[in-house]
Amino acid sequence: MNTTALKELLYKMADDQLIMGHRSSEWIGLGPLLEEDIAFASKAQDKVGQSLALYQLLEELGEADPDTVAFSRPAAKFHNSIFTELPNEEFDFSIMRHFLFDTAEYYRFELLSDSTYEPLQQVARKFTGEIRYHILHANEWIKELGDSTEEAIARMQSALDKALPYALGVFEPSPYEQKLIDSGLFAGEQALQNIWQDKISEIIGQTALRLPAWESIEPVYGGRAGHHSEHLQPLLDEMGQVINSEPGAEW
């Protein structure tokens, strides 16, 4: 087993789930409907819970405990995609991001349900059961808002256009891509992206929204290597504000 490659894979997924979960939680109390506060709270709990499970796998591989790893690394040591750290903005961008991101993670964990690393295989199987509901929720909203009032369609189109380059950044190739594929740990980013594009096209095709040609979109890479937007460090400062105010204390 290639531990370096495996750790890199686990870190980027754990960080994605943590940061996306954190952003989802920011909607609690502020959604357009009470039902959305509740839905976003569920997504947030699932995603943060999934990040915890992945950090625990890393701990078993010799990394520090999950609270330390999650709450005290600087932005440059985080491997989440830039997509997840962007601010929520309005509901249009938030729900569009969920649609694009949740679909990617659903199929990522479905592929990982066959990983040769058994602990990962097990958590991946559990996660797909949870994320299934996230994509049902997101798909429903894309179909509702993407085919409704002119205002809603225009907002969703602009959210889609803004989100796509970042969404493609989720599939930023790992330096260990070939090793992961050869060892059967993970089918690889390209395989995942192919599945994802089909699923996204299928749902968008049922709405009044237009999808540009895939090859015309320039992916925003960098997050996997620790090169982040200006939005991540303030998020991490906020997340660590209390726990880091009294080092060594238990909360």
Partner: protein
Amino acid sequence: MYGGGYLFEKTSPDLLKEEDQEKLAAFEARIDRGEKIEPHDWMPKLYRQQLIRMIEQHAHSEIIGALPEGTWITRAPGFKRKLGLMAKVQDEVGHAQLLYSAAETLGKSREQMIDDLINGRSKYSNIFNYPAYTWADSCFISWLVDAGAIVNQVANSKGSYGPYCRALERICIEESFHLKFGHHCVTYLATGTPRQRQMMQEALNRWWYPMLMFFGPPDKISAHTEILMRWKVKILSNDETRQQWLDMYVPKIWELGLTIPDDKLRKNEETGKWEFTQPDWEEFKQVINGNGPCNKERLAVRRMAEKRGEWVRRAILVKASNKKYVTPLA
């Protein structure tokens, strides 16, 4: 979370003179027998009006209450607390959803209720007009404010209106987890480092008097609630709920080595009642009338959320316009 009990309109037996006296007698006999009143049953106008008012205020308290605690979700220290607090605040919003549905069975729509809230025509629990400065404040709310709400809600779940009672039963089960979560958080602070202990003590100092006010003014100066008690809309008086809470939680607060900021607080062994320094009831009146430290901020946040969500609701209403309205199950 809702202390309730202090936001009723003044009631007068005169309002009942217009009612069909035979139906009124049968209605009261049902309540005396412990039967539940259901949405389609006959009920006096005053009963409907006061119930809508009470359930609506309770629902508003849940969504407004989600704000001071919600701001701590992104700062909660560690995975355990972050996950716990998210689940808790989610529950509170879920309670609002249940309660708005219960109130809708009486004929007022959720939209109308929220409109009344953000335009200042409707009240919510006073305690959420105080700020949650530190993590310890949010721990205080989770433990002790929720505990106060449980005292009130367990009592009200024995009330006469079926949909409200059923909502309350479920709410109380969830609140009891909040209380465990809150107690756990407070225990860690109160037995932690000197700085953590100080943080908890300061939160207790800030919240003690708002907490006593949570249950409403003393019975001798509160609005007339005899009819409401007779109809089992209100079950326990303000003083009764306050005494119950003091009885259950003062010893637990002391057990953690915290100091309650009132030298006069003691249990009178003869009367079995707690004696304490009265909170400033003038402040209470001010806060209820919109002049508390956070009233404006809370409503501004709620208004902002409503405004930002307008286009979403408009869009789904267009799609739903050819679907039939479904009366909520209660």
